[in-house]
Amino acid sequence: MLELRGLTKQFGGVTAVDSLDMDISAGELVGLIGPNGAGKTTVFNLVTGFARPSKGTVVFNGRNLTGMSTHSVAKVGLARTFQMSNVFRSLTVIENVIAGAHLDARISFWESLFHTPSAQRKSSRVRAQAEEILEFVGLQESRDTPAAVLPHGHKRTLGIAVALAARPQLLLLDEPLSGMNAQEVDQAMALIRKIWESGITILLIEHNMRAAMALSQRITVLEMGKKIAEGTPAEIKANDRVIQAYLGAKGRAARVD
């Protein structure tokens, strides 16, 4: 479904992503992990058109996305969430989801202006779908709350709901669990699994290793922009290179004890 070939990004003299090859097949849930600053978010930016690769290609369902603008990438079925600013602050929860459904049931300028019956039909359909999505993620209670005053955990969930509203085939989640407490983490994990089971392929960046290991079928590990390991969670857990990257030599020793 998604093929990255030799993907490279340089900022000034720094190579943030270094000739990365990666494949994701339809229906997979793949984890992308690595220490802070390893270049994970840059990979997302390169895939979704926020940054242009210095080298390499991004192919999605046989289409070359390299260098395509972000909004066109969304059209072919890729959506993502963000670590920061992941909701439209001044819109209410349901408006956020409706805004996320921008590509769905487009309403023309004149339809907007005259609130024509066809526009109203489309609007109510989009609204109904937004309600469904809110129910799916469990935010229906806060439907009319301004997004800015949502508790942190709910904001993160809303960010996912906005991405879902764009009806992606492949969803890229950028640290969906960060800053959540244990209970919220469990709920969010359940939600991610539910989204995946509904047939959406997922690429997940996550710092919470327990969650990343539990959710992913396959994991790719980045360090300094390079892929240092790839495999099932069990393989990754046992990989010396990975343990060293995360825990350092001493930590590894402690672990062996």
Partner: protein, 333 residues
């Protein structure tokens, strides 16, 4: 539902009262002030329409200017009817806005504000320079009033008043309908987070240009009205200070609410008029009001009741404080 009904009734009542004003207020002075308010309201609201996408434009003066020159030149030189020239002036300003907006929207925040300010100055300078067409510094004079239509002969202030009222009502209605439609939602989403909007498929540049262009349309229409009302137009009619004035209306009234700019235009047009007795120091009063509001009511006059409520209740919850801070934070370019 009910509150919506009350609101509609309230607005209709206001409209009826405004329609009746000339029957009771015969003084030209009052009508003139009301017309000035109308001009301010349309300009401030159309500036806010551009601002919905987070773009702070100081190019409004240019668009008013273009509308005014387009309208007076087509009417005077080509013999076009005013009633055709009025919307065409808007369309002309809109086309120029689309074009310049397309070039400018890659600039953000302060740079966008400044480049649009330069646009205003360039238009002014070109108007000064192109004597053959625009009459240079002296400008155009003896611009004919609108052709008579029905009971409106445009030989009295009242007729202009009704024209302005119609322009204001229609413009506000259009902007209101657009803001509270899917389109408005998309524009706001672009302001809140361009990255997030783009990631769900919004062509952010297109919508920024669209908002800039539509804002320009209303400014052009106002320009057309203006020159036929004063029967004159000159480069110094619309300097960048006009852009600033309009910005002041918007911010002082409240940039986050539809009624904000309306309120700002009304209050800030009336205050100097009240201070007319002390003409020398009138700008002082105006400046003092500006400073007071911007310092103590950063979200504009429209937030006064809310601020008072928060003050009275004293111990506000963090969520309330945050709620009142939402719109404050989101305007940052």
């Amino acid at each position: 539902m009910n509150s919506r009904l009350y609101k509609a009734i309230g607005w209709l009542t206001l409209l009826v009262i405004l329609c009746l004003v000339p029957l009771f207020m015969k003084q030209n002075y009052v009508l003139h002030v009301l017309i000035t308010i109308g001009v301010g309201v349309v300009l401030a609201n159309s500036l806010r329409f551009v601002f919905l996408t987070g773009q702070l434009s100081l190019g409004h003066g240019a668009m008013v200017s273009l509308g005014a020159y387009f309208s007076s030149l087509t009417v005077m030189n080509l013999g076009l009817s005013f009633w055709l020239a009025l919307p065409l002036a808007g369309v002309f300003a809109m086309i120029v806005s689309f074009f310049t907006g397309y070039l400018f929207t890659r600039l953000k925040g302060f740079y966008f504000a400044m480049v649009t300010m330069f646009l205003t100055m360039v238009v002014q300078l070109v108007a000064e320079q192109w004597r053959g067409l625009t009459g240079g510094v002296g400008g155009l004079t003896n611009i004919p009033p609108p052709n008579a239509i029905g009971a409106l002969g445009f030989d009295s202030k009242a007729d202009f008043y009704y024209l302005m009222l119609a322009i204001a009502v229609i413009s506000l209605l259009i902007m209101y309908l657009l803001e509270f439609s899917r389109l408005g939602l998309t524009l706001t989403s672009v302001r809140d987070s361009e990255a997030l909007a783009a990631s769900v498929g919004v062509n952010t540049r297109f919508y920024k240009v669209l908002a800039f262009g539509l804002g320009g349309f209303f400014a052009g229409v106002v320009g057309s009205f203006y020159c036929h009302y004063y029967s004159a137009v000159s480069p110094s009619s619309f300097t960048f200070m006009l852009s600033i004035d309009v910005l002041v209306f918007m911010v002082v009234g409240g940039r986050h609410r539809f009624v904000g700019p309306i309120l700002g235009a009304v209050v800030l047009t009336v205050i100097p008029e009240l201070g007319r007795g002390m003409k020398e120091y009138e700008p002082f009063i105006y400046a003092a009001v500006l400073l007071l509001i911007i310092v103590f009511l950063p979200r504009g006059l429209i937030s006064l009741p809310e601020q008072v409520r928060i003050l009275l209740r004293r111990g506000t919850s963090p969520s309330e404080r945050a709620a009142s801070a939402i719109t404050r934070g989101s305007h940052r370019a």
